[in-house]
């Protein structure tokens, strides 16, 4: 779904035409070889100064009309647009510069009909004697092309699925570091949440709720036809935090970044989101979580002959701490002593000049540890430059980005540099070759947050550090030891000042496409499309915890830790597609038949190596210069191959669209690697011919069905032996995860239906969608009886159903070009999941056990339900009498575990409003989540150590959890309303650019902000957190996250 088409709709349908040209004398000519812009329309004009190109019939005596078809907004030419005169057979097609010549024009007034895919058709009255005309077409929401297969496109008006599209303008209005952040609040049915406030990404997109429990939970990302990796790789910090020491052995609490973060949002032309199986079946067994199709910017339609255009954007901004955890302040020594014991005494001083005094005379200061940890405010900058143009048969788009974000926490931040070159070359009419390449370097410093079991992570320490201790660096350069962390002494201010947690990524994404028009005639066309793509990245994590850190000498007896982790990823894609289109001209019911067939292969490898060195000799950071060196390597390799066939038919005067497709696929991740699995799809849409009232312009009903899969994760098919050693003597033990040699993909079957209406001349657009998706053969890690020696067993079983509705309403109450305009778009989505069948007993999943709230997978219940202890009851025997505990003599009690919440929101809405008045534009984006639940473990640790300001209530909450065995106080409502973006722009008048500055084509000043405010009852830092990172189920666990920030930006955009 996009915001930009607000503008499209908002433009008047009336002809603006040449007047605009007259006002824009500085606009460069469209092409060097062509005529200068045509002067006025609707007024008598002199004969063209330059003879019209390709005008063989110019010699005919009858009147002819020359003209140019351009896009209203961009003024880009629209090649391929057709013009015809109503009531006559005369017609012509615009050339690649948008120019056309129409001969045999009637002498009197007539109506010119202009059509172009992607744009709204127009009927333009042409007066007598007019010889030349420029027609501007508004981009059309219903006419825009949407990718429906791997090689074919379809106009939105015929589409049978609710495919959301987000365009460049909507992505870059208010700067965001990553693409997923830029999408927040813009797509109905997409729940996009951050894992923490750390700079440099780490977000999760869930489309239409959860669709898996233990399988992969990221959508499939396709960039310019290349399936790229969105893997999140641990940085290895768990070696210091020991976050994986307890019940969660996997290193998932490392505040990991999913690698879609590497893309440069500024390079993106548009994003199409296929939310479910009914749309995404053609992507087979990787598409169960939806498909995000990203297309990067091109030089422009039509290729060669374009003057180079330069766009330059400079942004300067800052990040500010958005929220703090409430912390107790102490007013008397007695108060402090009651919580912190005699350790507090050193910080409560006697009145000046006295060495001893009564305890009630002691005083202490109050320090803002959170503010000292997160001063924020450093300047963040973003410079983006792009160059687009064309020479002869080649067009090019090149861009460069320099970005430097300063995080709110000391020594954290995110730097990114990106360069892109997209080249499109035509070899005559038959062959078109495109090469897209992007190299990105990013460096993220993310500090140390989230859970830890070693008393080192910032909020795990601050939760048990009283506000009366001064942790700031002393004048002599030393750092105070924090005696409230037992013997560990961690001082988080020292930790962030001295540690390093750097994630350095180099990434190259390159794709090559060739489109060969093998053959065509008046009715038919046959095209061969081949593509090859490479996504290669290296993630290097260098972590250093120098021996000087207070905790380092004591945490394990080995002072200093250095971690060097390297992950190498390679995705290779190859595909070949044959597309045949048949457009009968002889009448009959069939209007268009598109047949596609194609084959794809994907190879993926990921190899990550961790070297962890403890006991750094002389503080050296090289991993070979330590006392203990631990090495760990994990490798993954997968190959998928498959083919598809697809038929699309457009019939009944282009009103009925029918699509059927079948994808067949093999994957080495499946238990039977050579099993050929089928993913069918069928869809129909009908544009109603007789509209109910005159207010309707278009009314469409649609129904679609499709199937997709979710591949097993690498390793699920094996039961491994773990290799370890004792004093260097190697041995093997059985891995507690039992694999499954017959494991196969999950299968999602989705029905989607909807109604789309276009009303009031395009000023009201309504889209309503309902869906039901059934996911069978869930990839489950079922908990087996641990007495078997195994913890879990991989198996396919159970069934989950998601049902939901999505709605989009777009209104344009005011629309005066040049005057006041207001465009409003509201999206609504709700989703309900249910575990409709579970072939195993219910099991607790994620978080930290039922005492504090955890997820439970249970038949008949929501997949994301949160359960927790809910008091006790007396155990009775079969006769109903209480069972007496022989040890205590008291009746035996059992703890009750009941549902206490659900991570799934009741609904999500977003409100996007665009206003313009003259040269001013104002855009706002409000994002509302209603009714999700979150486990607030952060509050629990503040409460447990007497550090919450609401002392009595905190004690009651602890009592509830620990003694009454009721987890409810820490399972909170995560409803929020966030002001995601506000952006105010001013387009500078062209008249101010004179003389040497005349090259400036346009200039715009913008002030904007992101995540400006969050209205919520949630008591934690941010209701959008996930201690366990990207998770299908176990999200919404708040445990000591990186604090959230709000950012403010000033930008200037210049076009040359």
């Amino acid at each position: 779904m996009n915001v930009q088409h607000l503008a499209r709709w908002s433009s008047a349908l009336a002809l603006v035409a040449s007047l605009a040209w007259a006002q824009e004398p500085t606009t460069p000519p469209a092409g060097p070889a062509e005529a200068s812009p045509q002067p006025a329309a609707e007024v008598a004009a002199p004969a063209p100064e330059t003879p019209a190109p390709a005008a063989p019939e110019a010699a005919k005596p009858s009147r002819s009309l020359r003209g140019r078809i351009v896009d209203t907004k961009s003024k880009d030419p629209l090649p391929g647009a057709t013009v015809s005169i109503k009531g006559t057979p005369a017609s012509a097609m615009a050339d690649e510069n948008g120019n056309f010549v129409l001969n045999g024009v009637p002498d009197g007034k007539f109506t010119l009909h202009v059509e172009e895919q992607d744009h709204v058709r127009r009927d333009v009255p042409v007066d007598t004697n007019v010889a030349s005309i420029t027609v501007e077409l508004n981009q059309s929401y219903v006419e825009e092309l949407v990718v429906v297969g791997r090689a074919s496109e379809m106009a939105r008006k015929n589409l049978a699925n609710a495919v959301s599209t987000v365009k460049a303008d909507d992505l870059s209005r208010s700067p965001s570091a990553t693409v997923d952040a830029a999408l927040q609040g813009k797509v109905a049915g997409a729940n996009i949440q951050g894992n923490s406030g750390a700079p440099g990404g780490g977000m999760q997109i869930k489309l239409r709720g959860v669709s898996t429990i233990n399988g992969a939970n990221s959508p499939l990302y396709v960039v310019d036809g290349v399936i790229i990796s969105d893997v999140a790789i641990s940085n290895g910090i768990n070696a210091v935090t020991k976050s994986n020491a307890g019940s969660n052995p996997a290193p998932v609490q490392d505040d990991q970044v999913n690698r879609i973060a590497d893309l440069n949002p500024n390079d993106i032309a548009n994003i199409e989101i296929l939310k479910g199986a009914s749309a995404a079946a053609i992507y087979g067994s990787k598409a169960s979580n939806g498909v995000v199709i990203i297309t990067t910017k091109k030089a422009g339609i039509g290729g060669g002959g374009n003057e180079p255009r330069v766009e330059l954007t400079q942004r300067v901004g800052t990040y500010q701490l958005a929220n703090r955890i409430p912390q107790r302040t102490f007013t008397s020594f007695a108060d402090a002593q009651s919580v912190w014991g005699d350790t507090a005494k050193a910080f409560w001083k006697c009145p000046a000049g006295q060495t001893t005094c009564a305890d009630d005379q002691r005083t202490a200061g109050t320090f803002d540890h959170q503010g000292e940890l997160s001063p924020g405010g450093g300047p963040s900058t973003e410079t983006y430059a792009s160059l687009a143009g064309g020479v002869a048969d080649t067009s090019y788009f090149a861009s460069a980005l320099l970005k430097s974000d300063k995080g709110v926490v000391t020594n954290t931040g995110y730097d990114k540099q990106s360069a892109r070159l997209n080249i499109d070359h035509h070899f005559g009419d038959a062959l078109d070759v495109q090469l897209n390449s992007n190299v990105v370097h990013s460096l993220a410093a993310r500090g140390m947050f989230n859970n830890d079991n070693n008393n080192v992570s910032a909020f795990m320490v601050l939760s048990s550090t009283p506000s009366f201790i001064d942790l700031r660096q002393r004048a002599d350069g030393t750092w105070p030891v924090n005696p409230f962390i037992g013997l560990v002494g961690t001082n988080p201010l020292q930790t962030v000042a001295l540690m390093h947690n750097d994630e350095d990524v180099w990434r190259l994404i390159t794709s090559g496409d060739a489109l060969w028009k093998i053959w065509s005639n008046r009715e038919q066309e046959l095209k061969l499309a081949a593509n090859i793509g490479v996504d290669r990245f290296q993630q290097k994590n260098l972590l250093l915890f120098p021996p000087e850190l207070n905790f380092e000498p004591v945490d394990d007896g080995l002072a200093g830790t250095s971690i060097s982790a390297t992950a190498e990823n390679l995705n290779l894609n190859y595909g070949i597609n044959l597309v045949h289109t048949f457009r009968p001209t002889g009448g009959g019911p069939l209007n268009l038949l598109t047949s596609s067939i194609g084959a794809q292969r994907e190879d993926r490898t990921l190899d990550s190596t961790y070297i962890i060195t403890r006991g750094l000799v002389a503080g050296q950071s090289n991993v070979n210069e330590g006392t203990q060196v631990v090495v760990n390597e994990q490798r993954q390799r997968a190959t998928d191959r498959g083919f598809y066939i697809q038929e699309e038919a457009l019939t009944l005067e282009e009103r009925l669209q029918l699509v059927a497709a079948l994808r067949m696929e093999q994957s080495s991740l499946n238990g039977d690697a050579n099993a050929l699995l089928a993913y069918p799809k069928a869809a129909a849409s009908y544009r109603i011919g007789v509209l109910p009232t005159q207010y309707f312009d278009e009314l469409k009903v649609r129904l679609a069905y499709g199937e997709t899969g979710n591949q097993p994760i690498y390793g699920m098919r094996y039961t491994g032996l773990t290799v370890a050693n004792v004093n260097g003597f190697g041995g093997v033990v059985v891995n507690p995860v039992a694999g499954n040699a017959g494991v196969k993909p999950e299968r999602q079957r989705e029905f989607e239906g909807g109604i789309d209406a276009l009303m009031l001349g395009g000023n009201l657009v309504v889209e309503l969608t309902g869906y039901q998706r059934t996911i069978d053969d869930l990839l489950l890690r079922r908990n087996v009886a641990p007495s078997t020696g195994f913890l879990t067993e991989i198996f396919n079983g159970g069934q989950m159903i998601n049902r939901g509705v999505e709605a989009m309403v777009q209104v344009t109450p005011f629309d005066n070009p040049g005057g006041f305009g207001w465009n409003s778009r509201t999206t609504f989505a709700l989703n309900r999941s249910v575990i409709s069948r579970l072939d195993v007993p219910p099991f607790i999943f994620g978080a930290f056990g039922a005492r504090y709230g955890a997820f439970e997978i249970e038949q008949g219940k929501s997949a994301t339900q949160i359960v927790g202890n809910d008091g006790t009851e007396v155990v009775t025997d079969s006769a109903g009498n209480p069972v007496i505990d022989p040890v205590t003599g008291q009746p035996k009690l059992r703890t009750l575990v009941h549902p206490l919440g659900d991570a799934e929101p009741n609904f999500r809405m977003s409100f996007l409003n665009d206003f313009h008045y003259g040269a001013f534009t104002l855009s706002t984006n409000l994002d509302w989540q209603q009714g999700s639940s979150i486990i607030n473990f952060t509050r629990q640790i503040y409460d447990a150590f007497g550090n919450s300001p609401d002392v009595e209530a905190a004690a009651a909450r602890v009592d509830s959890v620990e003694h009454q065995l009721k987890a409810a106080p820490y399972i909170e409502d995560a409803s929020f309303l966030k002001i995601r973006e506000i952006s105010l722009g001013y387009e500078l008048p062209k008249t101010i650019f004179q003389g040497a500055f005349k090259v400036v084509r346009h200039a715009k000043l913008t002030v904007s902000g992101r995540n400006l405010w969050c209205f919520t009852k949630y008591t934690g830092l941010d209701p959008e957190v996930s201690n366990f990172g990207n998770q299908a189920i176990a999200r919404n666990v708040d445990l000591a996250p990186y604090p959230p920030s709000r950012s403010f930006w000033g930008s200037i955009e210049l076009g040359f």
Partner: protein, 484 residues
């Protein structure tokens, strides 16, 4: 679609390209790039695989011992030997000391002490199964003598793992017949007496195997088994464990069996005795090895260990250390109303070993067995031997008492200081002698002072919730032991 020339041409191009892209019928390759496969042991066992899996039994048994939330630490907290002031996890106090019963749902607080011993029991079954399948051959397989030795070793390790189940679950019991396929009904949960009886069977069978003439261990056991790394010497360890089980069984017959077993064990009461002789979990800082995580600043000694010690007891000076501040002055540390000024000196380094069983315990076991078989003098001789050698010259010999309660008090005192923080001995001893309900054990007895929570003494870890859920409420063997 009509079949005309362009289509044929295109189809040919497509087919050629498809083949070039590897779309042909060549099978997809798939192997586990990270780990050897279990099938390599169960289906096609080799000599090297069996030997690696045998060493693996040492590794598997060590898994849950030395974690900050492992067996030694948690049982130390429950037995009021240690504290864990981990500010990141209040459960070390709230759940372990304050709660009226432990949480069944968390692997980190007791669940691992169930799953991991059973995992190693599974490892032993895998070794035993592989021994059955491998040819009797010194190159391709193992010799008959090696087979006997490995079986004896595997069964002894299995006995040790069942003891962990017994020690952590106590009255809850645990399943015994666990060598089943995953899809089978889980083995019924048996009583703690059944578990001990099974351990006896395992140990006695293992002893017979270890005594096979010509037997040898063709695999390394690690530094912790130095001196006990051949079948003949390891048999003495087996007998020591057998004696411990017999004493735990606590019947007149079992006490007699304990004395028999001890006589075949490595018990040494000669003047040159080494109280520390025995077998140990060993740790290392090498890659792939495990370090002793009891070297943690959060793990502290319970203040009563110092408070209730006899003056001059060398064991206190050797095992406890006062906390000091930056100036070297004694200090204390506090968490949730608990304060202590001591930490342990037992495990100073990441590679410090932790005893599995050692001579000092054997002497104390003999004292107990002797007393309960009527040899009061012998019993006190043993106690006083320990007091003299470990406690030092300032401790006066105990005067023998025929009163069982007095003896138990004397015995538990020596065991408390001799076997301090070595693996839950104190907790197990208080429980098996019926002394766990003494309110004086608790730091904060009921009623608690205002703003504080009373403590409880948890006698067992409940059956893990995962075990309960996997069995379901219809399993009669878990009746009353699970919350559903």
């Amino acid at each position: 679609m009509t079949t005309n020339l362009p289509f044929k041409k295109a189809a040919a191009v497509l087919a050629a390209a498809a083949i070039a892209l590897g779309m042909s019928c060549e099978p997809l390759d798939s192997t586990d790039l990270n780990n050897p496969n279990l099938d390599s042991l169960t289906k096609h066992p080799t000599r090297s695989g069996i030997l690696a899996a045998s060493t693996g039994l040492v590794i598997g048994h060590r898994q849950q011992v030395a974690q900050t939330n492992g067996f030694v630490s948690l049982t130390g907290i429950l037995g009021r030997e240690s504290y864990c002031f981990d500010k990141a996890d209040p459960r070390f106090i709230t759940e372990m000391l304050e709660a009226a019963g432990l949480d069944a749902s968390s692997p980190a607080f007791g669940g691992n002490e169930w799953q991991q011993p059973y995992q190693n029991i599974r490892n032993a079954f895998t070794v035993l199964g592989a021994l059955d399948a491998v040819p009797v051959d010194p190159v391709a397989g193992v010799t008959a003598e090696e087979k006997a030795a490995i079986t004896g070793f595997a069964e002894t390790m299995q006995a040790l793992d069942f003891m962990v189940i017994h020690n952590t679950r106590w009255d809850q019991g645990g399943p015994i017949d666990v060598n089943r396929a995953l899809e089978d009904t889980p083995a019924p949960v048996k009583t703690k007496e059944d578990i001990l009886a099974h351990v006896v069977v395992l140990l006695d069978d293992a002893a017979a195997k270890l005594a096979t003439p010509g037997a040898s261990f063709p695999f390394p056991l690690g530094n912790g088994f130095r001196g006990f790394d051949d079948p003949a010497s390891f048999l003495k360890v087996n007998r020591g464990i057998r004696a411990r089980v017999a004493v735990y069984q606590g019947t007149p017959a079992s006490y007699a069996e304990a004395l028999t077993a001890l006589s075949a064990s490595f018990l040494d009461d000669t003047p040159s005795l080494d109280m520390h002789e025995g077998v140990y979990h060993s740790f290392g800082t090498g890659s792939g090895d495990v370090v002793n995580n009891l070297v943690s600043p959060n793990i502290l000694a319970h203040p009563k260990l110092a408070l209730e010690a006899e003056a001059g007891d060398l064991r206190v000076a050797q095992k406890l250390e006062q906390l000091t501040d930056e100036n070297g002055d004694p200090t204390t540390t506090t968490s949730r109303n608990l304060t202590t000024g001591y930490k342990f000196k037992l495990y100073p380094a990441p590679s410090s070993p932790i005893p599995i069983i050692r001579n000092e315990e054997l002497i104390l076991l003999r004292a107990e067995a002797r007393f309960h078989t009527g040899d009061v003098t012998g019993a006190y001789d043993d106690l006083n031997l320990v007091r003299a050698v470990s406690g030092g010259p300032l401790l006066t010999p105990l005067v023998p008492s025929t009163d069982p309660a007095t003896f138990t008090t004397n015995l538990l005192h020596e065991r408390r200081y001799s076997l301090m923080f070595e693996g839950g001995h104190r907790w197990i001893d208080l429980r098996r002698t019926g002394r766990a309900n003494d309110p004086s054990l608790l730091d904060i007895p009921s009623p608690p002072p205002a703003g504080q929570n009373a403590h409880h003494f948890s006698q067992f870890f409940p059956l893990p919730l995962a075990e309960c859920l996997a069995r379901g409420p219809s399993d009669p063997s878990i009746a009353g032991k699970c919350s559903f």
